[in-house]
């Protein structure tokens, strides 16, 4: 069943990995005591592990090939199951309702801890959807998205500290601050393309973090701002657990609003302009789309959501310091968008839930947690480069053609 040639290949792969990991895995030196520890057992594990994994991967690929062959034979061009559901209101509405009900009763059935991390995950859903406007829809690679998030968080922390403003008052202000900053950043970098834009936004994110870190009089520096109040509910004093639940519902509401707005945006004139911009800038300009304005709106709208979530972040954590807004955070939000499937709302939601909940549930793996996280990121990309739920382009389809010939999607 399994070809001998492949076994030989797997054997060679395992030898290669044994060689590759030899210095790091096998030798451990103590430069002070001047002793060397040879951990040969590790080499055995690596060789054995890579042998097994390579065989499994091969089996998977073989099966996939066979399946692909069968599929062609059946002449089945079925679009992915999920997409079909999403397209048909008959499925979509009851399903959304079910998800909504599930979201609403979630805190009643799960512990405070579960609610808490679900809140975090939902916050990232909003962040992902916000970044999706910039990266997924408008095609502007932004590696400094976390800066806007920081602006929102610090808006609440500082306005509360100095002026005693409450959560609800700051929520829109934080969003607007971030949006304003988005425009500010947008202006100088509009001329840049692709990866140049990426590095400038990365630099911008770092600059914001460094200012927060160094400008003590303004932001209290690295020691951060503590005792930020949780959102109030008509002046009621809430216990910790109900406070968490309350924030959870706020975030659920925010997610619903975001989905609604982003969905409407994508189908609007502006949304189509973004898509066009992503596909071809020159053609876009030729069609009479104002490139500058369209890009700036994308930047500021994306930033707006980040500012929003930033405010909630400060309220939820009750503490902010610059350490929360590093590049890695931007990278994770970006991963959510790409992993979920760029431009697809449902995809981003899945991406956020997976990427944020995974490290929490991987806690069982303790120190292997981040190793697994990195590995899974790679594996997911390799096997599903379009993301979990890839976006389908809007297109018209003629029924007549459909039945006659096969159109490869």
């Amino acid at each position: 069943m399994f070809p001998v040639k492949e076994l030989k290949r797997s054997f060679l792969i395992s030898i290669w990995f044994a060689f590759l990991t030899f210095p790091i895995m096998v030798i451990k030196v103590d430069p002070i005591e001047r002793t060397v520890l040879w951990r040969w057992d590790n080499m055995f594990f690596i060789a054995f592990g890579s042998f097994v994994i390579s065989i499994l991967a091969k089996v998977y690929l073989l099966r996939k090939e066979r399946r692909a062959g069968r599929k062609k034979a059946k002449k089945d061009i079925a679009e992915p199951f999920v997409q079909r559901i999403l397209r048909e209101p008959r499925f979509l509405y009851p399903l959304s309702l079910a998800v909504l009900v599930l979201a609403l009763v979630f805190p009643m059935f799960f512990s405070t801890y579960q609610t808490n991390i679900m809140t975090t995950a939902l916050m990232y859903v909003v962040l992902g959807l916000g970044l999706n406007i910039v990266v997924g829809v408008a095609g502007l690679l932004d590696l400094g998205y976390v800066a806007f998030y920081a602006v929102g968080a610090y808006s609440y922390a500082l306005l509360n500290l100095h002026f005693g403003l409450g959560f609800w008052a700051v929520l829109p202000i934080g969003g607007l601050f971030a949006a304003f900053l988005g425009v500010l950043l947008g202006f100088p970098v509009l001329r840049l393309r692709g990866d140049y834009l990426a590095i400038v936004t990365l630099g911008f994110g770092e600059i914001i973090r460094l200012i927060l870190e160094n400008w003590n009089d303004f932001s209290q520096g690295p020691s951060g701002i503590a005792n930020i109040p949780r959102p109030g509910f008509f002046g009621m004093d809430m216990s910790f657990a109900s406070g968490i639940t309350y924030i959870y519902y706020i975030v659920v509401a925010l997610v619903i609003i975001t989905i609604f707005v982003v969905n409407r945006l994508q189908n609007s004139r502006l949304g189509r302009a973004w898509l066009a911009l992503r596909e071809d800038e020159i053609a876009c300009q030729a069609m009479g789309i104002d490139k500058t304005k369209t890009k700036l709106i994308a930047f500021s709208l994306g930033a707006f959501w980040a500012g929003f979530v930033g405010v909630i972040f400060a309220a939820k954590t009750t503490f902010v310091n610059p350490a929360s807004f590093t590049f890695l955070e931007s990278a994770i939000i970006l991963s959510i968008v790409v992993l979920g499937g760029m431009g697809s709302i449902v995809g981003v939601i899945f991406g956020a839930l997976i990427l944020i909940l995974m490290p929490e549930y991987l806690r069982a793996l303790s120190e292997y947690r981040m190793l697994a996280f990195g590995g899974i990121l790679v594996v997911m990309m390799v096997f599903k480069p379009d993301g979990i739920i890839s976006n389908v382009r809007r297109s018209y389809r003629f029924k007549k053609h459909h039945s006659k010939e096969v159109i490869e999607p």
Binding site: N42, R191, V338, M342, G374, M381, V382
Partner: protein, 300 residues
């Protein structure tokens, strides 16, 4: 004036350090247009390999010269092997994927490798043996340029010359340039594009590894996290110079190193990185493809 010269040489050393790492970024980007975020980790693995090998050899009483040569070779070999493997596992399957997929794969790889070294070795900082002795002839100027600074400067120059030679005059260099210009055409004229890309990764990784060894010896310590920060800075430098251009990477690195050095010396190190990134933004506003990058005009 003395102070100026001191800062100048400090900036030069720092710039050369960035350059050794930035070359790998720029080569990979030039060929396949991928920001290889795991490159910083390759540099770290190179430094770690040379640390392990050098320490083992010094325990067994090898002479310093032998240690330097063997450790350098080992670092280059293993880092190249990692670079090659990473490309094959994490990037090659994504060659036809959407543009951002390999980027995320690279970020994942970077996180993976960091934690791999953390788990297999240690989370502590380790003392890196001084592989470059204090040369006697350098003593009078040691307060301005140290021996390891000199070694880094010389090495960067050599690498730069060697690489230019390789790209300009050898067969593989020609193939690389062809692949960078147009992959499809390169295939048509009989270039094995896969092999060229692998070669690029191998060369870039070997450079990073040698750089890793020298830099670690200069700083005197390593841990699993050094690649991340150095990587980001080197990447910035590569973009500053015009990503994809080899002289650009070196120039960008030197400009970045000098800016940081002078900013710290004359203004404040509090905002060192702010200056670095502001400079980047400024330059890119006026030259959107970096200092030596070719402005792309797109024909419709």
């Amino acid at each position: 004036m003395d102070y100026f010269i001191e800062l100048f040489f400090g900036g030069l050393t720092r710039g050369s350090i960035y350059a050794l790492i930035a070359l790998g970024y720029t080569m990979v980007y030039g060929i396949i247009g991928l920001i290889n975020f795991a490159h910083g980790e390759i540099y770290m693995i190179g430094a770690f390999t040379s640390f392990i090998v050098a320490t083992v050899l010094s325990i067994y009483g090898f002479p310093l010269l032998a240690i330097v040569v063997i450790a350098g070779l080992a670092a280059a070999v293993w880092s190249s092997a990692y670079g090659y493997t990473i490309e094959k596992l994490a990037y090659r399957p994504l060659r036809k994927a959407p543009r951002l997929a390999p980027l995320i794969s690279a970020i994942g790889m970077s996180i993976f490798l960091q934690n791999y070294v953390l788990l297999a070795q240690t989370s502590d900082f380790l003392p890196f043996p001084a592989l470059i002795p204090d040369f006697e002839f350098m003593e009078p100027v040691a307060h301005i340029v140290g021996s390891s600074d000199l070694a880094i400067l010389v090495l960067t120059t050599l690498v730069m010359i060697g690489l230019t030679f390789l790209i300009k005059f050898t067969k593989i260099g020609k193939a690389m340039r062809a692949t960078a210009q147009d992959k499809t055409m390169a295939v048509l004229v009989g270039i094995n594009v896969d092999r060229v890309i692998s070669a690029t990764f191998v060369i870039g990784s070997a450079l990073a590894a040698i750089g890793g060894m020298l830099i670690a010896s200069h700083i005197g310590q390593i841990n699993f996290y050094i690649g991340f920060i150095a990587g980001i800075k080197a990447f910035t430098a590569a973009v500053l110079g015009g990503i994809g251009s080899i002289p650009g990477a070196v120039l960008g690195s030197l400009v970045l190193g000098l800016t940081e050095s002078f900013a710290t010396g004359y203004i404040s190190s509090d905002y060192e990185d702010v200056f670095a990134f502001s400079l980047l933004v400024l330059i890119l506003i006026f030259k959107p493809s970096g200092l030596l990058g070719k402005a792309e005009t797109k024909k419709v």
